[in-house]
Symmetry: C2
Subunit: 501 residues, 2 copies
């Protein structure tokens, strides 16, 4: 294909998520000369950069025959503007494609091969179809320890990596799926109050009603650049910021986006995902919280134990000390589900208020205690006591205020203008709570985009209830969202199952 | 999600190939209320039909906040027009998704499970990511015989099925990859001249410079409806028509579209692909031609033999008699590569012209002979002689004219206005011919869209050549296409490798 043949970029603003798509009029000379049809892969050159994109042909006046457009991610990657020239060439043969095929056919991949696949994942040279094939070929336990180590290292190598001038740098991570489980800001406050360093980079919600970054943003700015983060950590020993802009293991974000719709679990990829983020963030000692429950991400202790062992083993090979803790994941932690409601809960715990959710406080103390022990801030077995002392004395709250101030100032927690109470249909006791449906209801109510929206839970497992007693309250900022959430809640009455005693 | 919330359909005409995509303004009330982002899967309702589509959000004035659009395939499936109301709902839980996951994790699937996956493939409920995961999970030899039988049966069941009032109905199929190998019309002419029934439904080119339907269309109309096909077969005993509009094993077309970019081979899926098309077309006895060569689709005799055995075994279980023949796939057959050039070659063979390509004639006689034997038109071992008699006597040519007349009239073969000769750079002998690069050159010259375009090959393997002796001629209808093809040819001088003797 001739490099001389060019088309002018026209902006259409179509967001396809990560996948690079190029749009051309089906009648343009390039499509006609090459016989290109939808789904052909092309190399696109513009602004002295290039990328590989999938062709969508346009059969309307949307694009002239001398024009081409790009999906938002592709346009941003090239940095082209309206009117810029785009040139096209055939896709070169990719080594990563044949390595991927080898993996599909059951061969083990070495470090170089995995690094090539990860690099081509990050630079968009592999299509979503290739990535789906890759995660499928790695599903279950089809990555052995050596491959998992190599994949983790490759994922770290394909992104930015932070380093800190302090030791030890501790961290904690929760293997998701439990609404309201917002222990991280409390843990950061406690362990940094004890003098440890915990620069926490966290994520926004992907499929949940709130990520730690969403909840923290209710209380303080979280979108800080690296210089600002360094200043905060220098001043306070810790931070709770959004890590999404720092290109820490970007391959992880891309693979998660493919695994999620396929609903695939891969031990190896989960381990590589968690550990690559932690190593990239400069952590040295990490505690992994593995909540187990029928509607949590990890559904059995056996799976959790296998995962814990794998995390420890791969971490050790890569110089990262990993400890895991298997916790109760049968019901939400705390009362609030949604950014502001969760922020309210964690403030109550930090401020030692009488109405602080006991389970959130206990979970945070358990995790903070283990992190204190891992970080050498106390003797083994004394972590929980030490954590409790730091919390009860108000030192943790003082420390949290200092962190928020350093990040840009502590904010007031907003309240949703609209609420609706859901009550028990009959007397009995709470037999089961479906974490997934509850999370869905909170999202329909507007979380996390509407920070004050979500669900406020009033009961716990095993608790006796009367007919008409409040089970939970919907919080919303817009009537439409309240209505959606209420309708979905009424269609899923069993989200909180009341057993007739 | 509320069914009351609707958007108006606006036509954008974006062709994404088979995948259903829905476009919405990122600021529309549905995206905002649901927190939908690019790549969410949605059920789309309109015109009293529904389908599942992947969301692309639009961040421009391309769509108003009360509008939505669909990819061409999705718009056609729903049959909606500009201004029609589209409603949206959450994607229901699909049984086929969890069965797919089971296969990914290494479980065997039963007939019901495979039928569900195939049905959801055809009706577009599984995304391209799911299909990529499916073909990956079946790659290599990960489908056993029982699964291959069940997959084949499911693919037949998910489409239309023809039946004929005559017996036996014979067919042949070539496992592709060999340019110019256009034996089918000759075989049809010979075996129907012997009184057998061979209603041949063939395909257009997908990645090659010409499919059998493209070549046959140079000589007669091939886009006939079922009633017309029945009339042709009733009159002549055979036909060579395009099968693409008849919905014979539509799942096959979809899976091929996914496998091709991944370049995956799966014994089970290849067998299911071939046999489902044949069974759907009403064939009873089928000969499979397996050309073996380093640049053909099948690269070793071992692979070909394993495939032949699998085809026979699965066919037998499904009531289809399958015989296979392993042939030489080291170089193109005949001289022409491209619809009109191949049509010219096959006419020369049928008309017993002195300049008829000997290899094409021999290959056609070999295959026709085997089909005659399979169909009981002659004693075993006498097929080739019988085929030769039918060809040499002019009966096959008479029969071919009758078929063309019945299909709508024999046409003159067009000639390309532009040609360019490629000559040997030095003396020697032809050591190797790269089928794939030669096919690519023919496509760049305009084949198959420009019927007269392509490559006319003047040498065969082992042939001695002088410096400057013609190797092949490029044929094109447009100067730009001739230029592209010539440039690519000059960059790939080794497509025909001349050994210094």
């Amino acid at each position: 294909m001739s490099h001389e043949a060019s088309l002018r970029y026209r902006h259409l603003g179509i967001d396809t998520a990560h996948e690079y798509v190029v749009y051309m009029n089906a009648g343009c000379h390039i499509c006609r000369a090459e016989g290109f049809a939808a789904q052909t892969r092309l190399e696109v050159h513009g602004n002295e950069r290039s990328l590989i994109a999938t062709l969508n042909t346009v059969h309307s006046s949307l694009l002239g025959i001398d024009e081409a457009s790009l999906s938002v991610s592709a346009q941003q990657a090239l940095g082209v503007q309206a009117g810029d020239a785009l040139r096209f060439s055939h896709v070169p043969v990719l080594v990563s494609e044949s390595d991927l095929r080898a993996k599909i056919y059951g061969q083990r991949l070495d470090a170089t091969q995995l690094a090539g696949i990860v690099a081509d994942t990050v630079n968009g040279r592999l299509s979503d179809l290739h990535l789906a094939a890759f995660v499928t070929a790695c599903a279950g336990d089809r990555l052995d320890i050596a491959e998992t180590v190599a994949l983790t290292r490759a994922m770290v190598g394909a992104g930015a990596r932070l380093s800190w001038q302090r030791e030890p740098v501790v961290d904690k991570h929760c293997v998701g799926g439990l609404p309201g489980n917002r222990t991280t800001p409390i843990v950061v406050a406690i362990v940094t109050a004890a003098g440890l360093t915990m620069p926490k980079t966290s994520s926004r919600a992907i499929t949940s009603p709130a990520g730690t970054a969403d909840t923290m943003e209710v209380l303080a700015p979280v979108d800080l650049d690296l210089a600002a983060i360094r200043r905060v950590v220098e001043q306070t020993g810790g931070c709770v910021v959004w890590g999404g802009g720092m290109q820490l293991s970007p391959a992880d974000d891309i693979l998660i986006r493919i695994e999620r719709p396929l609903n695939l679990d891969s031990d190896g990829q989960l381990v590589a995902s968690i550990l690559s983020k932690k190593i990239s963030a400069g952590s040295q000692r990490v505690l992994i919280d593995l909540p187990v429950g029928p509607t949590a991400k990890v559904r059995s202790s056996e799976v959790a134990e296998r995962l814990a062992q794998r995390l420890q083993q791969v971490g050790a090979t890569l110089g990262l000390a990993v400890d895991s803790i298997i916790t109760d994941g049968t019901q939400p932690i705390g009362c609030g589900i949604g950014p502001a409601l969760e922020a309210r809960d964690l403030l109550r715990v930090l401020q030692n208020q009488a109405d602080a959710p006991a389970d959130l406080r206990e979970r945070a103390l358990l995790l903070a205690g283990r992190v204190l022990e891992m970080g050498g801030a106390c003797a083994p077995g004394e972590g929980r006591l030490r954590a409790r002392a730091l919390l009860d004395s108000g030192l943790a709250w003082q420390q949290f205020q200092a962190i928020c101030a350093a990040q840009g100032g502590l904010r007031d927690v907003p309240h949703a203008p609209l609420t609706e109470l859901i009550v028990a249909p009959h007397a009995g006791s709470v037999r089961q709570i479906d974490n997934r449906v509850l999370a869905r209801i909170a999202k329909l109510a507007g979380a996390p985009a509407s920070a004050a929206a979500g669900v406020d839970l009033h009961v716990k497992l095993g608790q006796p209830v009367e007919a008409g007693q409040p089970l939970y309250t919907l919080h919303a900022e817009a009537p439409g969202e309240l209505r959606y959430a209420a309708r979905y809640a009424s269609e899923h009455g069993g989200v909180i199952e009341i057993a007739h005693d």
